[in-house]
Symmetry: C2
Subunit: 464 residues, 2 copies
Amino acid sequence: MYNKINKKDLAYFQNLIPESRLFFGKDISEDFSKDELGTVSKYPELVIKAESAAEISQIMAYANERLIPVTARGSGTGLVGACVPVCGGIVIDTTRMNHILELDSENLVLVVEPGVLLMDIYSYVEPKGYFYAPDPGEKSATIGGNIATNAGGMRAVKYGVTRDWVRAIEVVLPTGEITQFGRKVVKDTTGYSLKNLIIGSEGTLAIITKAYLKLLPLPTKTISLLVPFKTLESGIDHVPQIMQSKSDPTAVEFFSRETVGFAEMFLGKKFPDTRNDAYILLTFDGIDDKDVKAKVQKAADLCLSELGAEDVLIVDTEERKDLVWKARGAFLEAIKASTTQMDECDVVVPRAKVSEYIRFSYGLTKKYNIRIPSFGHAGDGNLHLYICKDAMSDEAFEKTLKAVFEEMYQKADEIGGLISGEHGIGFAKKVYMHKLLGETQVNIMRGIKKVFDPNNILNPEKVI
Amino acid sequence: MYNKINKKDLAYFQNLIPESRLFFGKDISEDFSKDELGTVSKYPELVIKAESAAEISQIMAYANERLIPVTARGSGTGLVGACVPVCGGIVIDTTRMNHILELDSENLVLVVEPGVLLMDIYSYVEPKGYFYAPDPGEKSATIGGNIATNAGGMRAVKYGVTRDWVRAIEVVLPTGEITQFGRKVVKDTTGYSLKNLIIGSEGTLAIITKAYLKLLPLPTKTISLLVPFKTLESGIDHVPQIMQSKSDPTAVEFFSRETVGFAEMFLGKKFPDTRNDAYILLTFDGIDDKDVKAKVQKAADLCLSELGAEDVLIVDTEERKDLVWKARGAFLEAIKASTTQMDECDVVVPRAKVSEYIRFSYGLTKKYNIRIPSFGHAGDGNLHLYICKDAMSDEAFEKTLKAVFEEMYQKADEIGGLISGEHGIGFAKKVYMHKLLGETQVNIMRGIKKVFDPNNILNPEKVI
């Protein structure tokens, strides 16, 4: 169905792109054959480090004509194989398109190329007094990848997800045409929201070449509260009360002592408290010190007087902040380091069902005799559960993984959840999404894919 | 192309729907032939007041088979003809589907039928301590209509638009199939966002039969500041500074003394200040009295010391609130009452370009010798401009309107704006949207329409 890249094709691309940005055959690094988790793997035939929308446009137009698959890739920090070129063809690496193009302070908009890293956005805007709120755990992800997966993060509780912070995107369509969805405006009801359709479509409908991001004035004060509970469920069960309490939390995370232990081992640093089995980590921010302190006080009082917390530890010194947030930031890597191989489940469930889901995962641990450490976003019902291979054989792990995933996604469905809160569907979760959403919805998605990409050359075999 | 409703069709619907909820031919009220502005007009052949998704499903399936157009209609408060059945056929009136189905306080979700009025949502949730933030001017609109147009409103500055407050929607597809996009979850990156595609699609892709709305704890304090300026431009020009000031405004409105005058005449009540030519109306809210007062103080100081305001009037007594907000709420009706006929322009432009656009409208007033009163949302760049017919002949008005609209939308395009911020495209603004977005984007939208509605029976001739 697809054409392999031949000598004539290669000559075309060599003419278009300088040698230093073009990698073919054996020159291609293993990195381009997988993502962060490495559960899906396939080498591309050609890697092009693009530097402009114009280049991507020419590559796309040619590939579309010649029926060569094209997959866009940022930092490759995904977990579901979305950037892995499972049908071969070309990988367009956008990491050299890493320029911040404009900070429009009057309209509170930041214009960036897709290869700009999340951490570079923070370090650019924050010293100037501006705030880009989405904060997915992986700060070395590109903004293009964040938009393609509608990445979430911890501050989603108060500030929403990446979708809510994208004013407009410039994209290259599979035909090679460059177009822009949205503008530097706040409201938009000018036709179907193609911008929102591209966001979260994991590079299957268009390649993002520029993004217009919303900014806010930077909150001047941030304080966290680390709240230990006797059990994870008893902590999580009270999250709805915290959300109703008018204490306006920015983030509400949960994790167990076990997960903290992995992070301590991984980082070689002690966590401020390890005497308890479970922790809820709350963050509060604002533009007024007194206001933030009042919110913290309200939440702390509630936790101690009504929610049965064992203690409340205020995380306001730089040292303590560093310890807590470094640990929180290292959970994924730390769990990964604790096992031989793992796969993950990124379900999102109604907030009030998080603890039921965690209990359910304990059951799976026993039933399949397998470790499933977890942590996640209690404030928005988004859980990350890691199924660890440990000493299991490849064959046994594959079989167990399949059975565990089947049960996990069915349970999510039963309690009103969805397959993915923030990591996407990519290649790895397709079968589960299809089962949960059903033929009607998947067929609509397939129809939409065909409208954008009739030749199915853009990131084929992903999502749908 | 479409079939007219014949005796056999009528018998089918009479068998399905009780007589009291079915209107045919001359029994159809004139209301169903137009919307609030009445610029588009056409009678349906049949009006059905539906009571359930199941009924709508059966109507749709039959109409799809028989190629009879179907248009869904809420309160008919739209301004661009989106609910007018321009190809005839059936109008499904959803106003009897006006039940609030559930307030899920743990997940902060309100489940409603599509015919629930916006004002009924406020009066249901607010006494219970919950907040649904979107506040389009027309409080008697249905939530179904609000979602179909992605309605905005004044609090969009701080809280976003309707899109941001919809967790999930149940819809009837043109085939008659009932399906649900999204769930009671906060994050979702499970495939293409079909929910976001339906929101703002003005009833052309599916009929909304249930909505799951996001709630927040109700802010306990709201204070407004009425800030008079020498000229409208001098006030509006400073809005970007207010937005950068860390005073966290909920709403930032602008209007002129002229517009206030219409409202005074319309309501028979005096506005608190009419000595000045122009006004910026700021609102601040929060969960802590002191915090809200601090924000108000910060903004008031800024307005007086740096922005050249003539005065600042704190709107905190019930009487003053009533006067100011009644006037603000009456602007559209009041301007309508001031003329024989009018049409409106709902452009959205970058925040920093609002005053340039207003000045441009003054030029049009002179050039075409026509009144164009305006008001709008300075905080989010969304303007409402009303081209008034007054004593002009029908013919002259039609010609002038066309010329004025052409110039207005071209100007919006030039300064980075879009055709509609919150009122939609419907039938009236199609030609302008097509010109601004271009063939490529409109063709994608047409392709998407075909995926959902291959027979083009659902609200045909709208948006695309």
